[in-house]
Symmetry: C2
Subunit: 110 residues, 2 copies
Amino acid sequence: MARVTEVTDEPDVEDFDFVKVLSAVADPVRLSILRQLAEALEAISCGAIDLPVKASTATHHFTALRQAGVLHQYYIGTSRMNVLRTEDLEKAYPGFLPSVIAGSAGINRD
Amino acid sequence: MARVTEVTDEPDVEDFDFVKVLSAVADPVRLSILRQLAEALEAISCGAIDLPVKASTATHHFTALRQAGVLHQYYIGTSRMNVLRTEDLEKAYPGFLPSVIAGSAGINRD
DNA sequence: GGCATATTTTGACACGCATCGTACTAAGTG
DNA sequence: CACTTAGTACGATGCGTGTCAAAATATGCC
Protein backbone atom coordinates (compact mmCIF):
# COMPACT_ATOMS: atom_id res chain seq x y z
CA MET A 1 0.00 0.00 0.00
CA ALA A 2 1.73 3.14 -1.23
CA ARG A 3 1.72 6.04 1.19
CA VAL A 4 1.39 9.71 0.43
CA THR A 5 4.71 11.57 0.49
CA GLU A 6 4.53 15.36 0.41
CA VAL A 7 6.85 17.59 -1.58
CA THR A 8 8.07 20.37 0.64
CA ASP A 9 9.10 23.56 -1.12
CA GLU A 10 5.64 25.08 -1.49
CA PRO A 11 5.02 28.50 0.11
CA ASP A 12 2.36 29.03 2.72
CA VAL A 13 -0.51 31.12 1.42
CA GLU A 14 0.61 34.04 3.62
CA ASP A 15 3.97 33.95 1.84
CA PHE A 16 2.59 34.06 -1.68
CA ASP A 17 4.39 36.58 -3.91
CA PHE A 18 2.11 37.91 -6.62
CA VAL A 19 4.86 38.72 -9.10
CA LYS A 20 6.14 35.20 -8.71
CA VAL A 21 2.66 33.78 -9.29
CA LEU A 22 2.16 35.97 -12.36
CA SER A 23 5.56 35.01 -13.74
CA ALA A 24 4.85 31.36 -13.11
CA VAL A 25 1.60 31.36 -15.10
CA ALA A 26 2.86 33.64 -17.91
CA ASP A 27 4.01 30.74 -20.06
CA PRO A 28 2.03 28.70 -22.59
CA VAL A 29 3.26 25.34 -21.35
CA ARG A 30 2.35 26.20 -17.80
CA LEU A 31 -1.05 27.47 -18.79
CA SER A 32 -1.63 24.12 -20.44
CA ILE A 33 -0.76 22.43 -17.16
CA LEU A 34 -3.26 24.64 -15.34
CA ARG A 35 -5.97 23.90 -17.82
CA GLN A 36 -5.47 20.15 -17.73
CA LEU A 37 -5.56 20.17 -13.96
CA ALA A 38 -8.62 22.43 -13.87
CA GLU A 39 -10.46 20.22 -16.34
CA ALA A 40 -9.56 17.00 -14.54
CA LEU A 41 -10.97 18.15 -11.20
CA GLU A 42 -8.62 15.66 -9.53
CA ALA A 43 -4.92 15.09 -9.09
CA ILE A 44 -2.89 14.14 -12.16
CA SER A 45 0.65 12.79 -12.15
CA CYS A 46 3.37 14.74 -13.91
CA GLY A 47 3.75 12.03 -16.52
CA ALA A 48 0.05 12.00 -17.29
CA ILE A 49 -0.07 15.67 -18.25
CA ASP A 50 0.29 16.07 -21.99
CA LEU A 51 2.96 18.66 -22.77
CA PRO A 52 4.87 19.64 -25.94
CA VAL A 53 8.23 19.51 -24.18
CA LYS A 54 10.51 16.80 -22.81
CA ALA A 55 10.18 15.48 -19.27
CA SER A 56 13.26 17.34 -18.06
CA THR A 57 11.83 20.64 -19.26
CA ALA A 58 8.42 19.79 -17.81
CA THR A 59 10.14 19.36 -14.47
CA HIS A 60 11.29 22.98 -14.53
CA HIS A 61 7.77 24.13 -15.38
CA PHE A 62 6.25 22.13 -12.55
CA THR A 63 8.90 23.48 -10.20
CA ALA A 64 8.09 27.08 -11.08
CA LEU A 65 4.37 26.52 -10.51
CA ARG A 66 4.93 24.68 -7.26
CA GLN A 67 7.37 27.19 -5.81
CA ALA A 68 5.02 30.03 -6.71
CA GLY A 69 2.29 28.29 -4.74
CA VAL A 70 0.11 27.43 -7.71
CA LEU A 71 0.51 23.64 -7.38
CA HIS A 72 0.52 21.18 -4.52
CA GLN A 73 2.48 17.99 -5.18
CA TYR A 74 2.75 14.67 -3.45
CA TYR A 75 3.91 11.18 -4.25
CA ILE A 76 1.61 8.26 -4.80
CA GLY A 77 4.04 5.40 -5.21
CA THR A 78 6.60 6.51 -7.78
CA SER A 79 4.24 9.04 -9.40
CA ARG A 80 4.34 12.69 -8.49
CA MET A 81 0.77 13.97 -8.34
CA ASN A 82 -0.34 17.56 -8.90
CA VAL A 83 -3.38 19.51 -7.76
CA LEU A 84 -4.08 23.20 -8.14
CA ARG A 85 -4.07 25.18 -4.90
CA THR A 86 -7.38 26.66 -5.93
CA GLU A 87 -8.60 27.69 -2.49
CA ASP A 88 -5.32 29.27 -1.43
CA LEU A 89 -5.05 31.24 -4.66
CA GLU A 90 -8.65 32.40 -4.34
CA LYS A 91 -7.96 33.47 -0.79
CA ALA A 92 -4.86 35.44 -1.75
CA TYR A 93 -5.96 36.77 -5.13
CA PRO A 94 -9.75 36.56 -5.53
CA GLY A 95 -10.84 35.92 -9.10
CA PHE A 96 -7.34 35.56 -10.43
CA LEU A 97 -7.02 31.83 -11.10
CA PRO A 98 -10.46 31.42 -12.69
CA SER A 99 -9.79 34.37 -15.01
CA VAL A 100 -6.40 32.92 -15.96
CA ILE A 101 -7.81 29.51 -16.69
CA ALA A 102 -10.65 31.03 -18.69
CA GLY A 103 -8.23 33.33 -20.51
CA SER A 104 -5.96 30.46 -21.39
CA ALA A 105 -8.84 28.62 -23.06
CA GLY A 106 -8.25 30.59 -26.25
CA ILE A 107 -4.65 29.48 -26.49
CA ASN A 108 -3.71 26.69 -28.86
CA ARG A 109 -2.06 23.94 -26.95
CA ASP A 110 0.98 23.41 -29.13
CA MET B 1 -4.61 74.27 -28.96
CA ALA B 2 -2.77 70.96 -28.71
CA ARG B 3 -4.37 68.14 -30.65
CA VAL B 4 -4.66 64.50 -29.69
CA THR B 5 -2.16 62.29 -31.52
CA GLU B 6 -2.66 58.54 -31.21
CA VAL B 7 0.10 56.01 -30.80
CA THR B 8 -0.45 53.21 -33.22
CA ASP B 9 1.05 49.85 -32.24
CA GLU B 10 -1.76 48.72 -29.93
CA PRO B 11 -3.53 45.43 -30.78
CA ASP B 12 -7.24 45.28 -31.44
CA VAL B 13 -9.09 43.45 -28.70
CA GLU B 14 -9.70 40.50 -31.05
CA ASP B 15 -5.94 40.20 -31.48
CA PHE B 16 -5.10 40.11 -27.78
CA ASP B 17 -2.64 37.35 -26.87
CA PHE B 18 -3.14 36.18 -23.31
CA VAL B 19 0.42 35.00 -22.77
CA LYS B 20 1.64 38.38 -23.94
CA VAL B 21 -0.74 40.13 -21.55
CA LEU B 22 0.33 37.92 -18.67
CA SER B 23 3.99 38.45 -19.46
CA ALA B 24 3.45 42.20 -19.69
CA VAL B 25 1.91 42.46 -16.24
CA ALA B 26 4.27 39.98 -14.54
CA ASP B 27 6.74 42.67 -13.51
CA PRO B 28 6.75 44.82 -10.38
CA VAL B 29 7.43 48.09 -12.20
CA ARG B 30 4.60 47.44 -14.60
CA LEU B 31 2.23 46.49 -11.82
CA SER B 32 3.04 49.83 -10.25
CA ILE B 33 2.09 51.53 -13.49
CA LEU B 34 -1.21 49.66 -13.51
CA ARG B 35 -1.98 50.59 -9.96
CA GLN B 36 -1.19 54.27 -10.43
CA LEU B 37 -3.42 54.39 -13.51
CA ALA B 38 -6.20 52.46 -11.78
CA GLU B 39 -6.10 54.78 -8.77
CA ALA B 40 -6.03 57.94 -10.87
CA LEU B 41 -9.19 57.05 -12.80
CA GLU B 42 -7.94 59.32 -15.61
CA ALA B 43 -5.09 59.53 -18.06
CA ILE B 44 -1.60 60.15 -16.68
CA SER B 45 1.42 61.12 -18.73
CA CYS B 46 4.46 58.85 -18.76
CA GLY B 47 6.49 61.40 -16.92
CA ALA B 48 3.92 61.81 -14.18
CA ILE B 49 3.99 58.13 -13.22
CA ASP B 50 6.37 57.58 -10.33
CA LEU B 51 8.72 54.68 -11.11
CA PRO B 52 11.97 53.40 -9.55
CA VAL B 53 13.76 53.20 -12.91
CA LYS B 54 15.18 55.67 -15.41
CA ALA B 55 13.07 57.14 -18.20
CA SER B 56 14.68 54.99 -20.89
CA THR B 57 13.81 51.84 -18.95
CA ALA B 58 10.32 53.13 -18.25
CA THR B 59 9.87 53.48 -22.00
CA HIS B 60 10.44 49.77 -22.45
CA HIS B 61 7.92 48.98 -19.73
CA PHE B 62 5.28 51.23 -21.27
CA THR B 63 5.98 49.69 -24.66
CA ALA B 64 5.44 46.18 -23.34
CA LEU B 65 2.13 47.14 -21.73
CA ARG B 66 0.95 49.01 -24.81
CA GLN B 67 1.87 46.30 -27.30
CA ALA B 68 0.14 43.71 -25.12
CA GLY B 69 -3.01 45.79 -25.26
CA VAL B 70 -3.05 46.76 -21.60
CA LEU B 71 -2.51 50.50 -22.23
CA HIS B 72 -3.84 53.04 -24.68
CA GLN B 73 -1.50 55.98 -25.34
CA TYR B 74 -1.90 59.29 -27.07
CA TYR B 75 -0.11 62.61 -27.14
CA ILE B 76 -1.42 65.75 -25.50
CA GLY B 77 1.10 68.31 -26.64
CA THR B 78 4.52 66.88 -25.91
CA SER B 79 3.24 64.56 -23.17
CA ARG B 80 2.42 60.95 -23.84
CA MET B 81 -0.73 60.03 -21.91
CA ASN B 82 -1.71 56.57 -20.69
CA VAL B 83 -5.04 55.00 -19.86
CA LEU B 84 -5.80 51.39 -19.03
CA ARG B 85 -7.82 49.54 -21.66
CA THR B 86 -10.10 48.37 -18.90
CA GLU B 87 -13.15 47.59 -21.02
CA ASP B 88 -11.22 45.73 -23.71
CA LEU B 89 -9.41 43.62 -21.14
CA GLU B 90 -12.66 42.85 -19.31
CA LYS B 91 -14.19 41.83 -22.62
CA ALA B 92 -11.32 39.54 -23.51
CA TYR B 93 -10.46 38.22 -20.03
CA PRO B 94 -13.33 38.81 -17.60
CA GLY B 95 -12.15 39.43 -14.04
CA PHE B 96 -8.50 39.38 -14.93
CA LEU B 97 -7.46 43.03 -14.67
CA PRO B 98 -9.35 43.75 -11.43
CA SER B 99 -7.81 40.68 -9.80
CA VAL B 100 -4.35 41.72 -10.97
CA ILE B 101 -4.73 45.26 -9.68
CA ALA B 102 -6.09 43.97 -6.37
CA GLY B 103 -3.33 41.36 -6.16
CA SER B 104 -0.67 43.97 -6.81
CA ALA B 105 -1.89 46.03 -3.87
CA GLY B 106 0.18 43.91 -1.49
CA ILE B 107 3.40 44.63 -3.35
CA ASN B 108 5.79 47.24 -1.99
CA ARG B 109 6.38 49.83 -4.61
CA ASP B 110 10.16 49.91 -4.50
C1' DG C 1 19.97 -5.37 -2.60
C1' DG C 2 18.25 -5.65 -7.64
C1' DC C 3 14.96 -4.03 -10.58
C1' DA C 4 11.40 -1.00 -12.45
C1' DT C 5 9.00 3.27 -13.12
C1' DA C 6 8.86 8.20 -12.58
C1' DT C 7 11.01 12.32 -12.20
C1' DT C 8 14.88 15.44 -11.30
C1' DT C 9 19.52 17.25 -11.70
C1' DT C 10 23.17 18.71 -14.35
C1' DG C 11 25.37 20.89 -18.11
C1' DA C 12 25.22 23.39 -22.20
C1' DC C 13 23.11 26.60 -25.22
C1' DA C 14 20.36 30.33 -27.36
C1' DC C 15 17.61 33.85 -26.51
C1' DG C 16 15.05 37.43 -24.23
C1' DC C 17 14.62 40.75 -20.72
C1' DA C 18 15.53 44.67 -17.41
C1' DT C 19 18.82 47.95 -16.70
C1' DC C 20 21.52 52.33 -17.56
C1' DG C 21 23.60 56.15 -20.31
C1' DT C 22 23.68 58.74 -24.38
C1' DA C 23 22.12 60.33 -28.63
C1' DC C 24 18.11 60.97 -31.08
C1' DT C 25 13.23 61.84 -32.19
C1' DA C 26 8.41 63.57 -31.33
C1' DA C 27 5.48 67.22 -30.42
C1' DG C 28 5.03 71.49 -29.55
C1' DT C 29 5.83 77.21 -29.39
C1' DG C 30 7.58 81.59 -31.06
C1' DC D 1 14.25 77.54 -38.09
C1' DA D 2 15.77 77.60 -32.98
C1' DC D 3 14.47 76.22 -28.77
C1' DT D 4 12.01 73.49 -25.20
C1' DT D 5 9.94 69.61 -23.00
C1' DA D 6 8.91 64.79 -23.20
C1' DG D 7 9.98 60.51 -24.41
C1' DT D 8 12.39 56.86 -27.42
C1' DA D 9 16.06 54.27 -29.82
C1' DC D 10 20.33 52.33 -29.47
C1' DG D 11 24.21 49.95 -27.51
C1' DA D 12 26.07 47.40 -23.94
C1' DT D 13 25.68 44.38 -20.02
C1' DG D 14 24.32 40.81 -16.77
C1' DC D 15 21.01 37.67 -15.70
C1' DG D 16 17.31 34.56 -16.05
C1' DT D 17 14.62 31.45 -18.69
C1' DG D 18 13.18 27.62 -21.75
C1' DT D 19 15.08 23.97 -24.11
C1' DC D 20 17.25 19.26 -24.73
C1' DA D 21 20.12 15.09 -23.56
C1' DA D 22 22.21 12.20 -20.39
C1' DA D 23 23.12 10.93 -15.85
C1' DA D 24 21.36 10.69 -11.39
C1' DT D 25 17.90 10.36 -7.85
C1' DA D 26 13.20 9.29 -5.73
C1' DT D 27 9.84 6.00 -4.73
C1' DG D 28 8.36 1.83 -4.74
C1' DC D 29 8.14 -3.79 -5.07
C1' DC D 30 10.14 -8.37 -4.62
